[in-house]
Structures are given as C-alpha cells and as structure tokens.
Amino acid sequence: MSLKRACAIAGVAESRLGVVPDSTVLSLQAEALVAALADAGLEKSDVDGLLVSGAWGRLPGLQIAEYLGIQPAYSDSTMVGGASFEFHLGHAAAAIQAGLCKVAVILYGSTQRSRADKYIFQIRSDLGYQYEAPYGLPTPVGSYALAASRHFAQYGTTNEQLADLAVATRDWAALNPKAYRREPLTREDVLNSGPIATPLNKLDCCLFTDGGGAVVVVSPDIAKTLDKPPVWLLGQGESVSHAQISEMRDLTITPAARSGARAFDMAGITHSDLDVVEIYDSFTITVLLTLESLGFCAPGTGGEFIANGRTGPSGEFPLNTNGGGLSYCHPGQYGIFLIIEAVRQLRGECDARQVADATLALISGTGGVLSSNSTCILGVE
C-alpha cells in the first residue's frame, strides 16, 4: 500500500509571525486557516478533517475545533514535537485514501514569545526524565549539543561548518519579507555569538517567536476542481526512536534514516531528482545530521556538505529557502512551515527566493531531541 498521490495540498498560509501580542494561540490558528482556505478556494464548511498539535492546551484538538466551530469526522492530535505536521500530512493522506475525509486541515499556532504559553519542552523530572533531570542539561539545546559533540569527535566536524549553514540560511531570509532576522550575518558573527552548550553557540539555535500556520489537504477529486495547481504528496515515511537524548543509540544517526528511505521508496525518486529541500533547523546540527541520515551525503561528511555557502541562494543545493527556523520564524514547533514553503516553491510563488523550475521538493521534520522524523516528498505536474 502506498500513499503516492493519495492527496494533494491545495492551500497554505501563515498567520502573522514574529511578535504578535494582539493574538491568542487560537486566534492565530484561525487567522492562518482563513488565509489557507482562501488560498485553496475552499470554505470552512468544506473541512471534515482536523489535524493539530501543541502543548498549549489541555486538549488542543477539542479546543481548536470548538473555537473554529467545526465538527470534523476525522481527527488526529499526534504530538511528536516539531515534526508533528509532517506526520499529520501522511496521516491525512491515509485518511483521505480510506475515504474517511476529503478536506483535512493541519493547524498550528503559538504565542510563546508574547504570552508565555506553556512551553512545549516544559521541564519534567518524573518517569524516564528522573535519570536526566539531576544533571541540569538545558532542553532541548543541550541534547542537540551532545549530538554535535559526538559528531565533532567522531568525524572532525567544526563550528565553522555549522556557522556556514546559519549564514546561508540567513542569506535566504534576506530574500523573504516575512523573515524575522534579515540583516547580513557572517561566519564570525556565529562563532562569536557566545556558547550556550558546547559546541553550540547562540546563533546555532533557532529563533523564539510567535506564529501560526495552516495547510489544506484534499482528495485527488477535489484537487482537480480547484484553481491553483495541486501539490501532490508522492511519498512519506515516519519514525520515532526515543524521548530523551540518553536513550538515542547513535547520536549521529536520526530517525530520518528510516523515514527518509520509506519516503524515497514510495515516491520512486532519488536524491538527484529533487529541486528544493526543506529540513527542520531547530539547530544547525539538526540539519547536518538529517542530511546524512537521509542519504544526501555519506556519514561524517555533512560538515563539508553544508560549508562555504553551498546551501544558500547562490549555492548548488537550495535548502531552507524561507530562512528556516534559524532566521524566518520558530514558534516552538516549526514543522508546518516546511510544508508551507515547499508548496510555495513548487507553485512558483516565492519571488526573489524562488528556485527556478522547482517541481520536486523534500521536506523533513525532526521533533523532540532528534526523537521523531517524518519525511515527505512533494511534486507538481
């Protein structure tokens, strides 16, 4: 059984991003949904599937349905951190393929910057966490720092290589009017930004912003009736491996190794077929590890792969073309914005940052502390 062409993405939108004090976590999601439905040419009354994720409420899937005034026939509140939305895309495809719904919306919002939402990585010290809590590792950054320390020691990866990724991502952000940080950045700026948890410096870390997003996923029959060209799901895979970094077997190989292999197999394409790639950049090291795990480069060579602007607007490997979680926005769980940017690239809507003739895109979401991954391959005719 395959999810290839089981659904298409018909509409995408962000809410206002950055610092949005005159909003709630619910109003931001509604704002994004209204814009995404308009983008699709559909009405709220068409929506019969709802996929949400968040740590902001007691029962987010119920709270947002109530607020929007919808009674979805299909619901999914899968919560695996920032990658949840790439999981949702696969789950929406399966539901649509099974005939359980026809118009599913994936939603996210956060006002963590302005209103101090209950943060997704709320510190816990019970159950499995009692074996990490005494040691004062800041979460999630410290866990990613441990993975980076291992990759540095095992393969000779350097802070300069990670810094180059942050710079290339900022260069993309400079081309995106919606990006939060657009001023030029240099390798030295990143290296001198101050250690958070070695080897990661402040500018190896994502932003801390408000923001919301919405993605409208429809059945093939409906996709063909809409004005904008459908963006087809061609392949998807997902995997989870652990909740805590001390339980990750090999700190250099993420669950993307399994989810990516499945997504490529389902889509029937290879790496060189892709035109644009959007990879979750909670931290610079996240991207390096994901690129290796997905097979874009051999284990240990991710540092060379991302160095010297290779992933920037002038480079040969267009990556995180909206400016990423590092420079565009990062409202706690970033994964929905990977989908939004890939769809816009495939529709040719990206103006100054448009990748020429983009017809195939890969998105890869990572959640928790390198804990979960879903990889999706999208394409247009």
Partner: protein, 130 residues
C-alpha cells in the same frame, strides 16, 4: 522534582542502590542485554521483569557538552560538563563531571562513578576521571 513522586515502582531499586553508593542497572534474564533506565521489560527482546545487577561504575565518555546557559535551577553552577557515559557493562546513562575544570574532560576519556547529593538532596551518580 516532586519528591513524593520519586522513587517510583520502576526506579526504587536504582535510588536505593544510589543511597548505598552503588550504581544499579538491569540485565535481561532471557537475552542478557544490559538495560538502563530501569523498566518492567527488556527493550531488546521484550522479556518481562529484568534482573537487577550492580555496575562497577567504570565507563567511557560517549558525548560531552559544557553548559554555559543552564536552566534557572542550575544557574549558580555553570559552566559544568554534562556527560553521556557508556558503562563497561553495556549501558549508557547521562551524568555530569563531579568536580574540577569542565574543560578537562573529553569524549573517550575513562571515568568512574561517585555519589554526591543531587539537586533534591538524594544521593545521585556523578563521574570523575578514572
């Protein structure tokens, strides 16, 4: 940490061992896998009720990060080195360098467990160079 919640039924032998200055872990009676943290089943073969064993407390540093921006409860202690240690019996745990210069420890270094009072006053495993 809410003291009344810990130890729990899974972790009680571990914390009781720590109170005696011993590092307790589990070993599967079926497949012999070392298991950490403590659980009611083997993560390798699924067999229930793993046996308890006492580690020699010797291992190697698998990963290491020096924390400069700690969580609020640890702000007076930075910088400190958080470690992932691979114990010789075949399990991995998080810990911290117990004393000395955080910069003095590296991946691959041999380390030995010691027990100091943790943030909640409970005897807790830390490591020093072996």
């Amino acid at each position: 940490m809410s003291e009344e919640d810990l130890p729990d039924p899974d972790s009680e032998p571990y914390w009781q061992g720590a109170a005696k200055g011993e590092l307790h872990f589990q070993r599967c009676g079926s497949c012999d896998a070392a298991i950490f943290y403590p659980r009611s089943l083997c993560t390798e073969c699924g067999a229930p009720d793993p046996d308890w064993a006492v580690s020699k407390g010797l291992g190697s540093v698998y990963a290491c990060s020096i924390v400069h921006r700690p969580p609020p409860a640890f702000k007076d202690e930075a910088p400190y080195a958080v470690l992932l240690v691979d114990l010789d019996e075949g399990f991995r745990m998080m810990s911290r360098l117990a004393e000395g210069d955080a910069e003095s420890i590296s991946i691959g270094d041999r380390v030995q467990v010691v027990f100091n009072d943790g943030p909640d006053g409970r005897p807790t495993p830390y490591f020093i160079p072996a």
